[in-house]
Symmetry: D2
Subunit: 332 residues, 4 copies
């Protein structure tokens, strides 16, 4: 339930305001150079602090608890644990009977019978993505020179990112955004024809990233309004290159050697400084709700590196399935 | 690779122009009434023949080879096999060196080293969805009164379906469309918080349906342009009902008791009666291509029942994981 | 539940007296030569007819319904179906309320609520092993020159096989036996250190063979009475060869390059021509039971080829996990 | 590879002399009372220190890093980490080129290309079983009143345990033993007919316990020398009780309501104070080997609680698959 992958396999654990969160990565080849410094750059991209992101300073130090010896992976499971700190549990306990709109408060209570750790979203918190980014760092090293890059296309419907965020901050509201991800240098033949199409496995992990509302590959929703004669990508080279890329790099679920391209809409942060309404689930009475504390105005700004990580994890798993990454690592 | 599900588990096999296609369903509870007649209605909806669909008459008779005894499921694997007939292999062999644009011809050859059954798309054929629809029939019976319904929203950008198809037929081109699926009567608490979110497992199977280019839940891509104050669904009842349904029935990956709603764009059929271009992958020379034979002008018309089946399969699996369907079936 | 394997993956279906039994093999590399004749030799070894085996003539013709094209595997799922014939359902219906000792009659009724196909053991029948042998034939071709060979060590406690069987036939009773299996040419490094030790995956599949009561590797139960100084296998060559093979070719769950050796006890056939006792599970009354029909005096005689098949299936899967068998087959 | 289970699912990580070892338990129901004290009793049984066990004082304090809140399980993954301490890495580095007989040194080096953490057996160490015992503690609470109990039958071929151990200590050699495990209060109908027979899943996890050489259920190897008329267990009660229990509580892979009984031989500890021989794998020269440090004379003494844990984990998973343990825990 909390794990993903067939050969390069990850398992996630933890709660936002519990003792720790973490990830176990099983199936990583032996012999990959790995040190704590490798995580810095991607962790910085995920970290909050810029305009439009929460000022909460999270503890992002990765404790590698197993699977690395003398700065190389050993081939056995890599456990990476992050301690939680700077948590203010008091902010959350009073919300217990008044589920916050847009959050998982209500469903968590129903699913886990009230035993869930409800503080700060608990296991549903965006903080869980830190483990995903850590696994992504490792995956990116494995798949190189295959390259994954995700960028923000727009936030609040505006491609002028900074301006849109400042406007939302001024309005004390939150905004969403659209992220595009591109994978280049993709080998032909990854993926499986039916249930494990590349779109299937990518969308599976992408929808585990909180706040994602959809995904489209290549021409995506536009394809529904195109004619076959327009949409078909004409083959122009014996290695599979096509004149256009409406397929998003995938035919019949299998990579065709062109860039994989997909886009993902991210909803506006559910917590805002606006007054909202909900009900008390014990009494059924409607109540006003003001969510105090620190919120991201635009969580979409922090998600590109998470999308990259998720994508790299899938690429590593698919490439291992196709025997393109050996069990004892050696650079290609 | 060709299987899906955790408890209600399906495995698919076959090729379009081989001896047969089929599906094995493992984990279906014992005691579900099942006969060949149960499949008729959904198979008719999938079948070709109407305007805009191929006139090929496929053999859709389900041979139940195991797992049913005295018209009840036994609790052991149900194998359903469909014989292939009315195939014209000669239509395909000459295309061997000139991959059809938009099809899996090129990637299949690369992935399987030329050993693939290339006739009529082989294992990549839309005919494979017949097994999916069969499993969907069983799943729908298991999850009742939970109800799944998919409909066409538009084809070729036009909600006047018949007119749009006739126009495309006249132009000898193909068109795509958008399908909306709605699940009603959904229990609260299905799905898992991280990798097996309801969106993750639904999108996983939906992207195994040929020609699907994307998926969006609830407000979907529109969410990226909404503010938090607009997007949040206000809780109005202690059973989870919300005033709006921008979440598409899912919070934090878990069903919230409102209808699950998602939309799927379907690309225009790749085979058209238009002249196209490709290259000969042996010589590298550009060649003209006219794909003879029988084509669907708008494959989207046949896909709603496939989307329904895929969705019902996921619902059955999730409900069994939540112990809402007993291992020995009894109507709720 | 009815499937096994990670990359070379098999799924089994069917009932002894239903329409058919069969197997689906997913993950087999493309390009392996395969024809119906390949199955003859191993099917003959499994077939009944010799002294000590049932005279029932089973229909052992393999119908390859998918996954093979022009006598080579395609890389997509291989479905092999066997039609049932020569069944005498009447023999079984009257046993419905008086479960046969040693058989699965009672547990099947409880597990499936009476919906199970009870005729001839149904899904629990030894006939199910025919699919396993078929998959074994394919696995053996994949792993060559790695060789798997299982033989009978003793039946009824006697290594003079023919004599022991004739004695049991004369006594109208059944007898068990011990089978030894040896895998030679094994690469070093197969298996995983913890839950997927080679012993773990081998024993997992071996215990799915009906009538198997145990398994021991190398020195096995004798090891419990040996001293460390006696038991340790001394390394004598840089490629891993050891002076003795108490380890049975496996250290820490991983193959060490020596032959894998294990032994398996097979219980005496439960159905005998002796009068037995059971109870009527409706009335609770004790009843005498005479099981008419055709029985194997010594089912162990037919099991070596099944053990071989199961072992070869595991070896194929482990070797594919270790990337020793390419996804497009080429002889080594 | 390092995980086990379908619904109650465990993943293991760590190395003997690395920073830590640990386990993640996914799928545990919410609402189970759990505190650190619950682990004490079983950890004590596993701990070394008595005659015949190593005097090494291991750090057995369980750090529950996630999944428990206010002393109840939350329903999300439970991560339990154990810090390593009291390690003497210096003892091991010099053994690098001279693999110890009976250990995994040689296969680990080959499998992981020399990148493995070779200190103290690394990921192959018996210390890894601490995580298994921790998961077993939780599983035992879930399955109660189903009860699992493993005991030593004999060590060094002698049922007078203390005397046999003292003799071996005096001889500076190591000895093996036989453990019997019994599960009582077992519901009828657990397990699956083919690949996931109860024997299959139990043996799978039991063989992941280091030093186990075999397993036999019920009459086990003796069955091979019994006649059918002797071996068949006669049904004496409508709830499945039988007059004898040669089946070991399992028919056709399914529990029959009688006690599950199996026996496991444990090999003598590979490390002894005797002088041994191996080769230098770089030079090929034969070398004498004296393994200094702390050894268990009879590792079998510490294994019963590990076998119990492994068995309880399987029972929990099987009972959850049969919906006998609800997703929100409540005592039965």
């Amino acid at each position: 339930m909390n794990s993903f992958g067939k050969i390069f396999k990850i398992s996630i654990f933890g709660e936002s305001h519990g003792e720790s969160i973490g990830i176990v990565i099983d199936g990583c080849p032996a012999g990959l150079p790995l040190s704590v410094d490798d995580f810095t750059s991607d962790f910085d991209r995920r970290r909050s602090g810029a305009t439009g992101t929460t000022p909460r300073k999270e503890s992002d130090v990765p404790h590698i608890r197993s699977g690395v010896f003398n700065n190389f992976t050993t081939g056995t499971p890599i456990a990476i644990v992050f301690d939680n700190s700077n948590t203010r549990s008091g902010d959350y306990s009073k919300l217990r009977e008044t589920p916050r709109p847009g959050h998982a408060d209500f469903v968590a209570m129903k699913k886990y019978g009230g035993f869930e750790d409800y503080r700060g979203g608990g296991h549903f918190s965006g903080r869980m993505t830190l483990g995903l980014v850590a696994a992504g760092v490792i995956a990116k090293k494995l798949i190189a020179p295959v390259n994954v890059r995700a960028t923000i296309l727009e936030v609040g419907g505006d491609s002028n990112i900074q301006r849109a965020v400042e406007k939302a901050v001024a309005e004390k509201d939150s905004i969403g955004g659209i992220i595009e991800c591109r994978v280049s240098g993709v080998p032909v033949g990854l993926g499986e024809p039916f249930f494990d199409s590349v779109e299937s496995v990518l969308s599976h992990i992408i929808f585990s990233v909180p706040a994602v509302k959809g995904i489209e590959f290549g021409s995506g929703f536009k394809a529904a309004r195109m004619k076959g004669s327009e949409h078909n990508d004409r083959l122009v080279s014996v290695d599979g290159k096509t004149a256009t890329n409406n397929a998003g790099g995938i035919n019949g679920g299998i990579t065709n050697g062109n860039d994989i391209i997909f886009r993902v809409p991210v909803k506006p942060t559910s917590s805002t400084h606006q007054k909202q309404h909900t009900i008390n689930i014990k009494t059924g009475e409607m109540v006003d709700l003001e969510i105090e504390g620190r919120h991201d105005t635009c969580i979409a700004l922090r998600i590109p590196v998470v999308i990259e990580a998720a994508t790299a994890i899938v690429m590593a798993d698919l490439m291992m399935q196709s025997q393109l990454i050996p069990r004892i690592f050696s650079e290609r």
